[in-house]
Amino acid sequence: MDNKYTLKIFRGTPGNQYWEEFELERNSAANVISALMEIQKNPINKKGEVTTPVAWEQGCLEEVCGSCSMLINGKPRQSCTALIENYIQSTGSTTITLAPFTKFPLIRDLCVDRTSMFESLKKIRGWVSVDGSEDTGQFGPSISPEVQEAMYTLSTCMTCGCCTESCPQVNEKSDFMGPAAMSQIRFFNANPTGKLEKSDRMRVAMGDEGIAGCGNAQNCVKVCPKNIPLTESLALIGREASKQAIKDFLGLPDAGNID
């Protein structure tokens, strides 16, 4: 067994990106993050040149914060759960490539600015409009375990951007917000109180940045680290948007159930 492996990293700043290789010792427990930490401690590339440590984004390292997204061997994922040995064994290659996401503005090396995803959460009105935090002595409406579980699944979205990165419809020519925001519309509409603002959210989904942008490539669901049923959300939002369009056409207020 070759006891070394190579991390080939696409790094640099906007307009000045380049590949740089680092050679590291194999270690059964290594993940991409711990490998990058090794480079920090000893920033010397494969050619033996002293270089700057690689910049990357990280947080919990337990795949729950969404920070450490990047392209690993070309696929979007969280780098904390990316185990080096798994890659070497599944590809048969001792070279692993790391690159930043391409659908967001590059900051440096493996870091991009995913602010657009959080702006989308504003646009879709991603909240439940409670009257205030004062205790009224009341819980929210009761929710069945089944609905809670569905809501919980949708709410595990950590805004990591893997779905956005994988989506061919998110590009310079399209305003599509991407799958995560559409799925969040579904989450807030599923809440009994959140449902009261469903029409407002659906009108966003009907807009230029909304569901019409989805081309049904179904890449998103394959890359979601949390296995959120994104294509199901997209289909549902598509159907609901059509209903909303009819309601709006008829000019009825959203007062009764006309489904």
Binding site: K41, G59, C65, S67, C80, R114, G126, V130, F139
Partner: protein
């Protein structure tokens, strides 16, 4: 009278978000600073749940019992009025989070469900699968986003707090921060500053904390004169997966749902049980459920300090897996629907180890988890005669508040599982009502503060930046961090011995000297993470000294602070709060002590071997308690 209330909140975890939300709701304008997108804050890592004594399970639970369990669980080191009011606020906080759409697990009837957690005999822990902190944080993040669209909250994400700006009277009037993307230094002005920057796990490097949790903000404030309390109390969680980059948490809820800890027994070895009797270490070759035998009443759900210590004790006898500090945590016997409730944490185990915990018992070890100590803050009780002249959660630096894991309240010498989410939200709400009251008490606003004060603070940071960026020595700051972490993990975690602690203090000082000789591997200003960490590391070293010196001086065994040489809790000498103050001239923290507010409950021994559900009485409960809800 200041008309427009402007507040800086540093940190966007549960505490910071709860505070920002409450402030905005009350009409203040908030500038929210965070080193990351607030939605990625470390609160997302809390797995098991939030303790709320609302008695929906027909067990006659109550906030009084919750307060009692918390005070006892913390080995009587916590000031008691804050604990009582936090427990009383719990039910209202749960209702608030539920109304905001937090997807809490449900009973068949559609009500919020509860599970069991450590240190209590009640089903008191509300939860969202096994990622409760993430879900609570998201709900607050969403409310904050709503106020952001209304113009009441302005976020400065990817910015880091560096310095508190104090006016000529020593009143907080703003901060200096830098932009992590380009190192641009900037002054923000306000009439109050709330620090909510979480714990300090990164001082130990291998902890369950997120990489944001450096403790640097508190370290910087400490170096500016902020008192730091109970630094030596660091929680070690019994169940983690060891990794090259961090310790990954395996939630206590795994045991709350029936998971069992064991090692293979060895009947030729003996061990002393907590009741003083000596027993063989199980039967050779068979699983030995040592916590269940030693603590029949609480079993696998003993408080974390006890769990971590017993795991260490058993492993020191050579019974750990492969002779290492490692034991089994077993959920293979649990029915699939119970395993399903733990899915997110079981999945993480599988992703990192490749083993399916549903089929094969997990291997776990203790790891640094929670910072009980933190910024000293005031906390007048409801019936104190000067209640309205003082401000809850304000540090000794006037106008600078401190909340959440970064302050020292609520948990004493050991935090009970699922109490941190509650203390974070609660303290955030408390600050949300105390800060406006504080601003009302001011006679002038920052707009009347001399511009020179702000300029001087900015120049100090400009100079620090220039000097640090030009460092050209031979030491690598990340290697120094590894060295610090090795020493801290070895000598300042579960078991503490004075000779080791003396050596550790010398080592930290040595690292501090060598730090002066670091070389900056990167001198650019674009996302220079080496620089950012080097800046943090200086403050981390000072807090490392606070932890270690506090541990050295405290010659007793209390909660998470275990010193075999002094094997008993010593209330006569040590029932007091440790206060560390930065000494500008000396090279070590100055340690003093102050009394604990024990007005509700006299100390009793902590006994988890036998327990029945008693109905405790707390004394002197004020009649005028007003909850921040």
């Amino acid at each position: 009278m200041i008309k427009k209330k402007e507040v800086i909140v540093v940190g966007g975890g549960l505490a910071g978000l709860a505070c920002a939300m409450k402030l905005a709701e009350k009409g203040s304008f908030v500038k929210l600073i965070s080193v990351t997108k607030v939605r990625r804050s470390h609160s997302v890592c809390a797995q098991g749940g939030i303790n709320i004594a609302i008695n929906l399970k027909g067990e006659d639970d109550s906030p009084i019992i919750h307060a009692y369990d918390t005070i006892k669980g913390g080995d009587f080191l916590a000031n008691q009025p804050p604990v009582l009011e936090m427990a009383l606020a719990g039910p209202g906080i749960l209702r608030m989070m539920d109304r905001m759409g937090c997807p809490l697990n449900r009973t068949p009837e559609g009500h919020v469900d509860f599970r069991r957690f450590g240190g209590t005999l009640y089903h008191r822990t509300a939860f969202c699968g096994a990622s409760t902190g993430q879900q609570l944080l998201y709900s607050l993040d969403e409310q904050v986003r709503r106020y952001e669209t209304k113009g009441l909250i302005e976020k400065f994400e990817n910015h880091e707090f560096l310095r508190l700006i104090l006016d000529e009277k020593g009143i907080a009037r703003g901060i200096v921060m830098h932009d992590l993307f380009n190192l641009k230094l900037e002054v923000l002005k306000a009439d109050a500053v709330v620090i909510a920057t979480g714990g300090l796990g990164l001082i130990y490097k291998k902890s369950t904390n997120s990489t944001f949790c450096t403790g640097a903000a508190n370290g910087r404030l400490y170096m500016q004169g902020m008192k730091y309390a109970n630094g030596e109390f660091i929680q070690i969680h019994p169940s983690c997966i060891p990794g090259n980059d961090k310790m990954r948490l395996i939630s206590e809820s795994v045991r709350g749902e029936g998971g069992r800890i064991w090692v293979y027994g060895n009947s030729s070895k003996t061990i002393e049980f907590p009741d003083g009797t000596t027993h063989p270490c199980g039967k050779t070759g068979e699983p030995w459920y040592f916590l269940e035998e030693m603590y029949p009443a609480f079993g696998n759900l003993v408080p974390r300090d006890i769990g971590a210590r017993e795991v260490l004790r058993v492993c020191e006898l050579g019974l750990g897996i492969d002779g290492k500090l490692q034991v089994h945590l077993d959920v293979t016997h649990l029915p699939p629907e119970t395993q399903h409730k733990l899915e997110s944490v079981l999945d993480i185990y599988q992703k990192f180890t490749g083993d399916d915990p549903r089929k094969k018992p997990m291997k776990i070890c203790p790891g640094v988890h929670y910072t009980m100590g933190g910024a000293w803050t005031d906390w007048p009780a409801a019936d104190d005669s000067d209640r309205l002249e003082r401000f809850r959660h304000m540090t000794n630096l006037k106008g600078c508040f401190n909340i959440g894991e970064s302050d020292y309240h609520y948990h004493g010498a050991n935090r009970l599982g699922a109490n941190s989410l509650l203390s974070c939200i609660y303290s955030g709400l408390v600050a949300g009502v105390e800060v406006p009251r504080y601003i009302d008490s001011l006679s002038s606003s920052y707009t009347q503060t001399d511009e020179k004060i702000f300029g001087d603070s900015l120049r100090i940071e400009e100079q620090i930046q220039e000097e640090l960026l030009s460092k050209d020595g031979s030491e690598n700051v990340h290697q120094l961090h590894d060295e610090l972490s090795d020493w801290m993990v070895r000598f300042v975690t579960v078991k503490r011995d004075n000779p080791d602690l003396v050596k550790a203090i010398d080592k930290i000082k040595e690292i501090r000297t060598r730090y002066e000789n670091i070389g900056m591997a990167d001198r650019g200003k674009t996302l220079n993470q080496t620089y950012v960490f080097a800046h943090q590391f200086k403050a981390m070293l000072e807090i490392a000294l606070v932890i270690t010196k506090g541990a050295l001086l405290r010659n007793e065994f209390r909660g998470a602070h275990f010193k075999p040489e002094f094997p008993e809790r010593d209330d006569a000498n040590w029932l007091k709060t440790t206060i560390a103050t930065f000494d500008r001239k000396g090279d070590e923290p100055v340690i003093t002590y102050e009394p604990i507010d024990m007005r509700h409950l006299d100390p009793i021994q902590r006994d988890y071997t036998k327990a029945k559900k008693i109905v405790p009485t707390l004394k002197n409960i004020p009649e005028n308690i007003e909850l921040p809800l």
